[in-house]
């Protein structure tokens, strides 16, 4: 297998036409992914017609190149413009844009690139080495486990969201309610649609995030008095981080990549869950959690490594079971189907060449993304900040609204972005954190769907405590939520008498 893989990479993929195709795919992915609102799924769908006339191998090379590079490039608009291009970049913007505001935009992009490549390679290694094993675990992930992992994610987010806990919880609760809008996945009953057909599809997370972060940011800039007008400072000369600071991020990158690969391998979990877990986990483990969100490189490394490790992870169920791990791999399966190949458990025996080609193509895509983004991408992207602030602000607003529309070709999503932009602006003015809202909207529907499905199947909450994976996750979640509460209650009780005597 290893020999085949190396032979394929060097003999078949390092040909002029294949490298040319991969290069084209990487460049297109870097452009598409950096555009706000153009998700990787959309980039792949745009490329789909061009693969009809191709052989399967070049088609997969092109698509995987677009796939990987667009997932990385989602971080670019997050860092530079505070607009998440993809759900996976929603976390990156917290510290990434904060770094940009400190004049470290290029360094943030470099951290994002290095973390993405690292995550991509870890995901790729796990895919190549352990795909069938991980797929077996992914299958054991039923609705109870899924509900438990989402609960765990929510608990981590609640714990990790800094500042006023009460305000954070309130924002999270609003997010959960936003997640209820639309057709309920279990009974298909429309909820909170106010009688309009437009809201039946629910509130898509991309327009929501574009509004909450991008539009709100524009509003803040527009209402700032002239005297306070500060341009985003010109980037300092340094682009590439020092080796020593990179080495300090290694444990983070390893943890985040592992989380990303495994979560990516669970069908339908998606990168939003992976980055949320990775970020919250790092914040939990950090000795200085209060620094997250202020422009900490670790806050870029964790989500980006997880996000790109998801690529390898999402290919695991596709290659071993023929089941798409997310909407992006669904398009890849579409490509295979259009070439008359049916991915499934038989693929390893019936099409070993194809498996090796896909593995090789992903590897080539990762390496080319590193080279192209590092050599051309970052220097070009950083020029965006040279655009005068007032023009940039206007352009950002237009990009936000266009991006929101482009997600589903729906006008309602533009209104969603404007609505959440206003809400996000109000939150900033009232000093309420917006991140819990976004997480609530992402994780809430997943928790509800899987919890209710668990109850429909098993009819009893007890099942969560009978299955080992869910038992551990539920206990951990409660520990995360209750231990700090108990500790502070304890210290409060201990302190009270003293305060009393002091009076």
């Amino acid at each position: 297998m290893t020999q085949d893989l190396l032979a394929t990479i060097f003999a078949d993929l390092f040909t002029f036409s294949m490298i040319g195709l991969a290069l084209l795919g990487v460049v297109l992915g870097l452009v598409f992914g950096a555009l706000p609102g153009v998700s990787s799924t959309m980039a792949l769908a745009v490329m789909l017609p061009f693969t009809y006339g191709m052989e399967t191998a070049p088609a997969m090379v092109l698509m995987l190149a677009v796939f990987f590079s667009s997932v990385y490039a989602g971080s670019v608009s997050a860092i530079l413009l505070n607009i998440p291009g993809t759900p996976g970049a929603m976390i990156t913007l917290l510290d990434g844009h904060a770094m940009a505001r400190k004049g470290e935009a290029a360094e943030a992009m470099a951290y994002a690139l290095i973390a993405s490549i690292f995550g991509g390679i870890i995901g790729w290694i796990l895919l190549v080495a352990l795909a069938p094993t991980i797929a077996g675990y992914a299958l054991r992930f039923g609705s109870p486990e899924y509900a438990a992992v989402v609960l765990f994610g929510l608990a981590l987010v609640a714990y990790a969201s800094s500042g006023d806990t009460l305000r954070g919880l309130a924002a999270g609760a609003i997010g959960l309610i936003v997640g209820l809008v639309g057709r309920d996945q279990i009974t298909d009953v429309p909820r909170f649609t106010f009688g309009t057909a437009d809201l039946q599809g629910g509130i898509d997370i991309i327009p929501l995030a574009i509004g909450l972060f991008g539009v709100a940011e524009v509003l803040v800039l527009m209402t700032r008095p002239k005297s306070e007008m500060s341009e985003i400072p010109e980037t300092r000369a340094r682009t590439w981080p020092r080796w020593r600071s990179l080495r300090a991020e290694l444990p983070t990158a390893l943890r985040a990549s592992t989380i990303g690969t495994f979560v990516g391998a669970i069908p339908a979990a998606g990168s939003a869950v992976a980055v949320a877990l990775a970020y919250a986990c790092e914040k939990r483990l950090s000795k200085t959690p209060e620094k997250f969100g202020t422009g900490l490189p670790r806050g870029v490394v964790a989500p980006e490594a997880a996000n790109n490790a998801c690529v390898g992870g999402a290919l695991i169920p596709m290659m071993t079971l023929g089941i798409p791990g997310d909407s992006i791999t669904a398009v890849l399966i579409g490509v295979l189907l259009l070439h008359g190949l049916r991915p499934g458990p038989g693929l390893f025996e019936s099409q070993p060449d194809l498996i090796v080609t896909i593995y090789g193509a992903l590897f080539v895509a990762i390496i080319l993304t590193a080279l192209v983004a590092g050599a051309i991408g970052i220097p070009v992207y950083r020029k965006i900040l040279k655009i005068p602030q007032r023009i940039l602000t206007a352009a950002v607003l237009i990009l936000c609204l266009l991006g929101a529309y482009a997600v589903r070709n729906a006008v309602v999503d533009v209104w969603v972005a404007i609505f959440f932009g206003t809400l996000g602006f109000a939150f900033i003015k009232l000093n309420i954190p917006v991140l819990p809202l976004a997480f609530g909207a992402v994780l809430g529907p997943l928790l509800e769907e899987n919890l209710r499905r668990t109850l429909v199947i098993h009819g009893d909450v007890g099942v969560f405590f009978e299955r080992p994976i869910s038992l551990v996750l539920v206990c951990l979640s409660f520990a995360i939520l209750l231990v700090p509460l108990a500790l502070s209650a304890l210290s409060f009780l201990r302190r009270r008498p003293r305060r009393h005597s002091g009076l």
């Binding site: 599809g201 339908a268 089941i323 259009l338």
Partner: protein, 320 residues
Amino acid sequence: MKKTLSLAAAMALSAFASGAVAQSFPESPITWVVNWPAGGGQDTTSRLVADRLSDVLGVPVVVENYDGAGGLTGMRELANADPDGYTIGMLGSSSIIQQYTTDEPVMMDQLQVLSFFGPDPGALTVGADTPYETLDDYVAAVKEAPGDVPNGNDPPGGASYISAAIMESSLGLELNKIPYAGYAPTVTALLGGEVQSATVPLPQVLEHAASGDVRILGVMAGSPHFLAPDVPTFAAQGYDVLAGDFRAVVGPAGMPADVAATLSEALVEVLSSAEFVEAANAAGYMIEPLGAEEATARIEAFDAQVYPVLEAAELVTNPK
């Protein structure tokens, strides 16, 4: 005022122009609406047809995904488009069902059927670990424990939910229907053992049956599926169950007759070509090219079959 006049003049002119060029339809790109995301069955089949349709018509046919609201967003896009033949699209059985189960649905009289694509019959598949070796075993077990056997399917109103409901009502069974958001999570749940059976179309489980992870007990169609000729139909095993999804090509209602005829003929030509059928079959899709009239009749027959099932399942919120 001047503006209004010139606008009116322009409109009159363009109306005249469009009347004059109706014979030379089409002369600009055609938009093909897909009401599901890229990569799914509706999308793959649409792209297979659109690619070849543009060769026949001589203009580009551009596939656009209008995803959302369980396919309703795309249907609304189609119904509200100008009925000039430049916006067409594909629909499946869920769009027929939604007429009765949704608020503000798109009704079939807002659309005009151009051709039938083909059926996608339901199948009953069980996990390899379950004790059900044959359809008889399964039916007997479900009868013994009504409401206990978990079956994976779409949320209420989706194609595989309706297949399960038709099987229940035809055979007097009661399943524990567990909804999943699409075929991929349903098949995952079947493989993981969370559900014992699933009513997804046969191509979704074919590879897993070949590897021995699941057993396909029967096809809910009049004849066996071309991909698995060994799997018997329900009828061949003594159970009268016909259910499943289908696909058809439609445009907004009120298209000029000659435009609709041009599109319909071109579609049937594409769908009948040996090269297309081979490509579609290789991708797992059954092709049954039918013109506008026969396609309309097929859809009406499905409507007549499914409405009582929806009523019995208490899903109808918008009665006929």
